[in-house]
């Protein structure tokens, strides 16, 4: 399994909202084929942006509260947070170059 930070309903506030670093959260589930296409890219980005952007994953199957709060009804969805606020929402599977463009805007 990946070594990307997994966040849950319980620690979302601490890890994401209160994070000093910008955060990208990949909302995914085991049942979702296209999420498995995004997963490896997210893992690469986690390494490349270490120390600059915190990259996390949330399993929407075992966490219901946070996905509902952010109105998530399609996965994969990536949400980029800066200072605890949503700065961008990316729905669907997109190439790495597109995700990098969005990450750079956070820096």
């Amino acid at each position: 399994m990946s070594d990307v930070l997994q966040v849950t309903d319980a620690d979302f506030e601490q890890e994401v909202i209160k994070s000093e670093m910008p955060v990208m959260v990949d909302f995914w589930a085991e049942w979702c084929g296209p999420c498995k296409v995004v997963g490896p890219t997210v893992e690469e980005l986690a390494k490349e942006y270490e120390g600059k952007v915190k990259i996390a994953k949330m399993d929407v199957d075992s966490n219901r509260e946070i996905p509902t709060r952010f109105g998530i009804r399609n996965i994969p969805t990536l949400i980029l947070f800066k200072n605890g606020e949503v700065s961008q929402t990316i729905v669907g599977a997109h190439p790495k170059s597109h995700l990098e463009e969005e990450l750079k805007k956070l820096l």
Partner: protein, 304 residues
């Protein structure tokens, strides 16, 4: 210089890569995401021969990938941004480099066609979906609409009954196009309500989908169907953005025309799978295309 570049790692591209690797062609398969393609959105494939118990689209494509890699296929996670293709010279540009190849196989696939109606763009991600396996579980005990009447629409409508309280299958005609077996299943599905002769005209809602506005094509009557999700399966558009400026022959819908050997109107350029102009878009037809394209590419390379 490569012998062969393949663009797109769905079933057609992976099969072409398998055959090309066994033919010992110097081959690279370029994929902008990760291997998979459209079949990843399929929860359960039960019409691909050799797997009588069925399997998920992800598992099927993962097996194809591993099989091709067993014979040395290189799959590179690179996005092609431009192509220069002539009978004499074939160049492929990614955002970082230029590559040259003797032959090329286009397996760029297709993507779900949109309805093109008011509310669709605004509510994508907020209740409008093109992937039932991804998003179905968000609609537990809710009402959803499925648009379409072909195999995908009918299969996904049945799949959604696992979660949704009620599934309205909206079709513009008074009979389904789907395979008879699927028609039998959907007619027997208690949670499915068939809405005939109707086309969606607007998707209503602000923060999320609240209703679907429908027009009856026989009576012109407008009605509103309260639903929380709208799943769209009305066919596919060719993923041909890269091909626009090339002197390829396309059919009326923008799919690439080939001969029986998968060769396009540019010698040494082949097309296979969903991007190709053909009658039936299935994994089983994609793999046949891919094998033929690789073999024909090998012959083209030997002849030059």
């Amino acid at each position: 210089m490569e012998d062969l570049i393949i663009i797109g790692a769905g079933p057609a591209g992976l099969t072409a890569g398998l055959y090309a690797s066994r033919a010992r062609l110097r081959t690279v398969l370029l994929e902008k995401l990760a291997p998979g393609g459209q079949i990843l959105t399929t929860d359960f494939v039960e019409n691909y021969p050799g797997f009588p118990e069925g399997l998920s689209g992800f598992e099927l494509v993962d097996r194809m990938k591993r099989q091709a890699e067993n014979f040395g296929l290189k799959i590179a996670g690179k996005e092609v941004v431009r192509l220069e293709l002539t009978p004499e010279k074939k160049r492929v540009f990614t955002d970082k480099e230029a590559m040259e190849t003797k032959a090329l196989i286009l397996t760029t696939g297709a993507s779900p066609r949109k309805l093109g109606i008011e509310g669709e763009g605004l509510l994508t991600g907020k209740g409008v979906s093109y992937c039932a396996t991804c998003d179905g579980p968000f609609y537990r005990d809710q009402e959803v609409a499925v648009i379409g009447g072909g195999d995908t629409a009918v299969e996904e409508a049945i799949f959604l009954t696992k979660f949704a309280g009620r599934v309205h299958l909206v079709h513009r005609r008074d009979e389904l196009r789907a395979t008879k077996l699927l028609q039998e299943r959907v007619k027997a599905a208690e949670k499915v309500n068939l809405v005939w002769d109707s086309v969606p005209t607007r998707i209503l809602g602000q923060a999320g989908v609240e209703a679907l506005e429908l027009k009856n094509v026989k009576t012109n009557e407008i009605s509103t169907l309260p639903v929380e999700g709208v799943f769209v399966f009305i066919g596919y558009n060719p993923s041909n953005d890269l091909l626009a400026d090339l002197s390829l022959d396309f059919d009326d819908l923008g799919f690439v025309k080939t001969d029986d050997n998968m060769e396009t109107s540019i010698p040494g350029v082949f097309a296979a799978g969903d991007i190709r102009s053909k009658l039936l878009r299935q994994v089983s037809t994609a793999v046949g295309d891919g094998a033929t394209a690789a073999f024909a590419a090998e012959r083209f390379i030997e002849g030059h």
